[in-house]
């Protein structure tokens, strides 16, 4: 440091007046935006773990038949409303590996309910890669190997059994196949409609925009539940479960697009004012090219985040419809269909485990929300700190 007279201070550190304009100013930002988003998202722990959980959940859907001990509609007439069984490791002080106590039903004729008595003398050790009921592996081959099951003469109802003696644990896994995918199909429909309609409104503005806005307002003002009910009541009752499933997911998608269309429209309006879009226009790019090359890449990430946030609504919608008996119907298995069994207050009071399918609904909806939040927070990777 140099201090000249008059309190004049001059820094001594070397200084190069011709700093190289060829060097990068912010090397840390030199990456495609998906990479920058990923770097930022990684720091959002809750979102990251929710994402991993959902990924594992979706990846395991094709293998559900193998992972669980029973098939969804396998009845066990001796074990109606069986209580959840605990998997234990130590029997009378010594380690014998995972086992369950076999249970037998006793009718309580005073209260008209089933009581289950554990046979504490004969621990039944679980078997692995054992043969059970047939299921469709990956939807193609028939297979009958299960990861684990109870030995002959015993049962393994981890989360109890329902009124027909079907294993709730296995049914929840099978239910996930429908409940989780209904959101994906619904969101695809809603995406296509939302992007097209919102994009048109945002790009052309004026009367088009005005018209779309009014349609959205009308759609939004309709009470959702009665509308769902009306639409699904229109599904012919003789259709098979798969057809009903598709129709239900499309209905959910048809009613969900206005929110997405609004998001797309406002993003479009904001981006249209960006100078790089005006630059492309002035270079002579056609609207189609501007939308594909300049607008879409810049809000694709926003779309993904808003999709993550609207999938839970779809899952809840399906659950609500099926719960009311207007969505999927047995023999299809979904979480809503299972909860349909828990409609009866008495059965919840006596057999509270019939309401367990609520748990996966809550967990999955929360996970999607956390993931969506995490993505949304990471969307602007260029802002500092």
């Amino acid at each position: 440091m140099t201090v000249l007279p008059n309190n004049h201070y001059v820094d001594d550190a070397p200084y190069d007046p011709d700093e190289d304009i060829k060097s990068l100013d912010r090397p840390d930002l030199d990456a495609p935006s998906w990479l920058l988003i990923w770097r930022k998202f990684k720091r959002h722990k809750l979102g990251l773990w929710s994402g991993i959980f959902l990924l594992v959940a979706y990846l395991s859907l094709p293998f559900v038949g193998f992972l669980v001990p029973y098939t969804p509609n396998e009845r066990n007439a001796d074990h109606l409303y069986a209580a959840p069984q605990m998997v234990r490791l130590f029997h009378e002080g010594s380690f014998i590996g995972p086992y369950v106590y076999p249970i037998t039903a006793e009718a309580d004729l005073e209260n008209f309910r089933w009581n289950y008595v554990q046979d504490r003398e004969n621990p039944a050790r679980l078997e692995y890669f054992c043969e059970g009921d047939d299921y469709n592996f990956l939807g193609v081959f028939r297979a009958d190997t299960h990861l684990f099951c109870a030995p002959e003469g015993a049962t393994v109802f981890l989360w109890g059994a329902d009124r027909l003696g079907r294993d709730i644990f296995s049914r929840i896994f099978y239910g996930a196949q429908l409940s989780l995918t209904v959101g994906l199909i619904g969101i695809t429909v809603s995406f296509i409609l939302g992007i097209t309609i919102g994009g048109l409104a945002g790009y052309f503005g004026g009367r088009t925009d005005w018209g779309v806005q009014r349609v959205i307002e009308v759609l939004r003002s309709l009470p959702e539940l009665p509308l769902w009910l009306a639409l699904s009541a229109a599904v012919p009752s003789h259709w098979g479960p798969v057809a009903v499933f598709f129709v239900i997911s499309i209905i959910l998608g048809l009613l969900d697009w206005p929110g997405l269309a609004r998001a797309v429209r406002s993003k479009f309006l904001a981006l249209r004012e960006e100078e790089f879009v005006r630059a492309a226009e002035m270079m002579g790019a056609k609207p189609n090219r501007i939308i594909r090359k300049h607008l879409l890449p810049n809000f694709a990430s926003h779309l993904i985040a808003s999709a993550m946030l609207s999938i839970p609504a779809m899952i809840l919608g399906e659950t609500a419809l099926s719960f009311l008996g207007l969505g999927l119907r047995a023999p299809a298995v979904s979480w809503g269909v299972m909860l349909n069994d828990a409609q009866n207050l008495a059965s919840i009071e006596i057999y509270p485990w019939t309401a367990i399918p609520m748990l996966p609904v809550i967990v999955v909806v929360l996970a999607f929300n956390f993931l969506g939040d995490g993505l949304r927070d990471s969307l602007d990777p260029y802002s500092d700190h």
């Binding site: 140099t2 000249l4 008059n6 309190n7 004049h8 201070y9 001059v10 820094d11 550190a13 200084y15 007046p17 304009i21 060829k22 990068l24 100013d25 912010r26 090397p27 840390d28 930002l29 030199d30 990456a31 495609p32 935006s33 005005w210 960006e274 100078e275 790089f276 005006r278 630059a279 492309a280 226009e281 002035m282 270079m283 002579g284 790019a285 090219r289 090359k293 300049h294 890449p297 810049n298 260029y382 500092d384 700190h385």
Partner: protein
């Protein structure tokens, strides 16, 4: 030492960082005496704003003060270290003993509250005034800061006032409790030059009346030379040079200060006016252009409101030359630029002619068919103002530079890539940057990229819409030099839009000054700067602050010219709703004056 000789504020060894990253402010020292003005000068990223905000601890959440003291020595009480005060103690200092004004007055006033009440809040909070007595004081203060009708201003909402008036309200709010220290964070940067001159004068006047000290944060050495007693030059969070203004500005010792001073654009004071020559080879001509914007009414069936942004503008850009349009915000200069490129349709009646080559038949830009339009788009390109929004963040540099070629289907992939590399080198960047993303570049580099993209189609005409306004001073100079260089290398013609006369002084061959949608004066730059005729041009020139301690603003000229057109001297004044005709007072010098 007694309280009179110790400085009012002494900052020692200040270091600030974000999270656990290396500090962005390192070992900053400065002090300020009572009644004095200290200027913190620096370019973007120098840490000047963070430094001044740290004094009141209004920092971004992740910023941490690593070390340092800021000893504040108020008249009435014992010295305190601002950094070790509790939040509660600090609240008593904020807005009372030390107050702050910000760059963007629209964002610092709450849009939902009447201005008067926001200002009076300081008095009711800190001084325990009743509402009625606070109102009397506020209205008195409003009169002092230059509101013509303070009663009305008291009841107004922020959006009802212009930028300059809002900044005055902010100043009134900051001054109402008679603080001992005022921190002004770029208070005039968002304002037009003439408004800036008036606001600076106001701050100076108030300072003389109350004897407060002012810390003035700015990037503009012209402002510093005019207002500061002491200067502290910051670069990348370090003090480069500090000391009394006349020494630092008059005889800078550090290379960085020298570079900044050299880069500050200046208006030439004396030059031999060259003889005017008629335009022989025009490339673009606008004749009698009008543009009326219709602002859509809030309801579908409501009545629309019309605003005339451009009134009867005619101009001719000569091939290989630069025609500059200068004006303040709202003067219609950018609208003219857009009309010239056919991006905005002018009202019926005018004509826009473009000559592709000398002596060729002109095309009418307003009525092009598809193939003519494509040809014209290759000939005429635009350089935008904001280097951060003009490049798509999702595209690599190579895609950005080859996009114009792809749109017009020129060349193979390989040729396009070679062309992109060639363009990068032309604008002074390295060709290994092709695979980089725009966000890795600084503002100046991005503006170079934007220029390279505009050059991709080998245009003959570039419309530059404030290409240097968003850049730092030193970078602005480099970009201007680049623009001059490529103009001469490729024989380009420019239509150059700017709000800054000093920038234009360097590059233009012909300058038109616009005010409220009309050209009020037009001449070659040496004529315009040495012998301006119109009061508005005179005001613009007077309001240009130069980095020279001996040049002070002539506020009277500024106030006269920048005021309402009805109050201009009679020969120039607006009669009813129209200005006098544009007449050629001498060859090549057009002025709106009654003959």
């Amino acid at each position: 030492m007694n309280a009179e000789t110790t400085p009012l504020l002494q900052v020692n060894d200040l270091s600030i960082g974000f999270g656990d990253q290396p500090p962005i402010i390192t070992d900053v020292n400065f002090s300020i005496d009572r009644g004095e003005t200290l200027a913190l000068v620096g370019e973007s990223g120098s840490g000047k704003t963070i430094t001044c905000r740290s004094l009141l601890r209004v920092l971004p959440r992740s910023a941490v003060i690593h070390s340092g003291t800021a000893v504040f020595n108020p008249k009435a009480s014992a010295p305190v270290d601002l950094f070790s005060l509790s939040e509660k103690e600090l609240r008593d200092v904020r807005g009372d003993r030390i107050s702050m004004i910000f760059q963007e007055p629209m964002h610092s006033l709450s849009p939902l509250h009447r201005i008067g009440h926001q200002v009076a809040e300081v008095l009711t909070l800190h001084r325990g005034h009743s509402r009625a007595s606070a109102k009397v004081k506020v209205i008195e203060k409003f009169r002092r800061v230059g509101f013509v009708d303070p009663e009305r201003a008291f009841a107004a909402y922020p959006f009802e006032l212009s930028g300059g008036m809002r900044q005055r309200a902010m100043i009134a709010m900051a001054m109402i409790a008679r603080p001992e220290l005022l921190i002004a964070d770029e208070p005039t940067t968002a304002l037009d030059v003439t408004t800036q001159a008036q606001v600076l004068e106001l701050i100076k006047g108030l300072q003389e009346e109350t004897g407060m000290a002012v810390i003035f944060v700015t990037h503009d050495l012209g402002v510093v030379a005019n207002i500061a007693d002491e200067v502290c030059v910051l670069r990348k969070g370090r003090v480069m040079e500090s000391g009394p203004t006349d020494i630092v500005i008059g005889a800078p010792a550090h290379g960085y200060t020298k570079k900044l001073l050299a880069a500050a654009p200046a208006i030439p004071h004396s030059a031999e006016p060259s003889a005017a020559r008629p335009v022989v080879d025009p490339i673009l001509q606008l004749e009698g252009i009008n543009k009326t914007f219709v602002s859509r009414a809030g309801t579908f069936f409501g009545k629309n409101r019309e605003v005339q942004a451009v009134k009867n503008v005619s101009l001719t850009v000569e091939r290989g030359k630069t025609f500059a349009i200068v004006g303040e915000s709202g003067s219609g200069k950018s609208t003219v630029a857009n009309i010239a490129l056919g991006a905005t349709q002018a009202d019926a009646g005018g004509a826009i002619r473009y000559w592709a080559t000398k002596g060729a038949l002109p095309v009418d830009v307003a009525h092009l068919d598809t193939s003519e339009r494509r040809a014209f788009q290759r000939e005429a390109q635009m350089v935008f103002q904001d280097p951060f929004s003009s490049l798509s963040p999702r595209m690599q540099i190579i895609d950005i530079l080859t996009e114009p070629l792809r749109i017009h289907g020129i060349g193979t992939r390989k040729e396009q890539k070679e062309r992109a590399a060639e363009l990068l080198e032309k604008v002074g960047l390295d060709k290994n940057m092709l695979r980089r993303f725009p966000h890795a570049f600084s503002g100046g580099q991005r503006q170079r990229l934007s220029i390279a993209r505009a050059l991709a189609l080998n245009p003959s005409l570039l419309v530059c819409d404030e290409p240097t306004s968003a850049l730092d001073l030193s970078v602005q100079m480099q970009v201007l030099e680049l623009l001059e260089e490529i103009r001469d290398d490729f024989g380009l013609s420019y239509l150059f839009i700017s709000h800054d006369l000093a920038v234009v002084a360097r590059i233009a061959d012909e300058v038109a000054v616009m005010r409220q949608g009309q050209i009020v004066e037009q001449a070659a730059p040496d004529v315009l700067f040495t012998a301006p005729r119109h009061p508005y041009t005179k005001a613009l020139i007077a309001a240009c602050l130069e980095a020279d301690v001996s040049q002070k603003i002539n506020l009277q000229t500024v106030a006269l010219g920048a005021g309402d057109p009805h109050t201009w001297p009679e020969a120039y004044a607006m009669q009813g709703s129209s200005l006098p005709p544009l007449v050629e007072t001498e060859p090549g010098h057009l002025v709106r004056v009654n003959p």
